[in-house]
Symmetry: C2
């Protein structure tokens, strides 16, 4: 399973107990690894935090390209990965595509790592 076809975060997380509460199955480890892979990139972490920090909780690609310092196609590429992984939503309004945080998605992943 590559980054190109990742299941939404909820798939990785609807099922499982915390990582350190007993041995995880091979299947669940694949699912969680794919979800973490979507997060494990500096550009994508910054995109998430930039969208979250935005007034109104949404940002278009044009808001993100310049401060991130990457080309527009690359930014679109990263946003797509985050949408596919279930961390962002995308809404097209006119020419612009607006991205928002999916409430709870990061929390669900974070809680799988936290034991106490």
């Amino acid at each position: 399973m590559t980054l190109a076809n990742v299941r939404p975060a909820i798939d990785a997380t609807a099922c499982c107990q915390p990582l350190t509460r007993g041995s995880i199955s091979a299947e669940n480890s694949e699912s969680l690894a794919n979800t973490l892979k979507a997060l494990a990139d500096p550009a994508r972490l910054r995109l998430i935090s930039m969208v979250a920090a935005r007034e109104g909780g949404e940002a278009c690609v044009c808001d993100l390209t310049e401060p991130l310092g990457l080309s527009q196609p690359t930014v679109s590429h990263h946003l797509k990965i985050l949408v596919d992984a279930g961390f962002l939503t995308r809404e097209k309004r006119g020419l612009w595509a607006y991205y928002r945080i999916v409430p709870g998605a990061l929390d669900t992943v974070g809680r799988l790592l936290v034991t106490v």
Copy 2:
């Protein structure tokens, strides 16, 4: 920065506020991304959970190779990445190398993702 030379998890986490509490710096995003990269592999997630599930909280390579279904060098390789990232410790006793969970390391990373 590649997986081969990752700073310990504490470096990524001693500093920062949660990901969605305002824009993260480029530097911090690199650090956190490297830490998450160490986790974002199914074999390594299973290794963590297998060590955690073990009686006495420790396991040697020989305990892990067969149930993981990977070669011994590959298992050693993954364990090294987890040690370098600060998630496991390694103690050599006689012929064997025993690995243990670093208390709190996963929690610190998890809390960076959780907002509520």
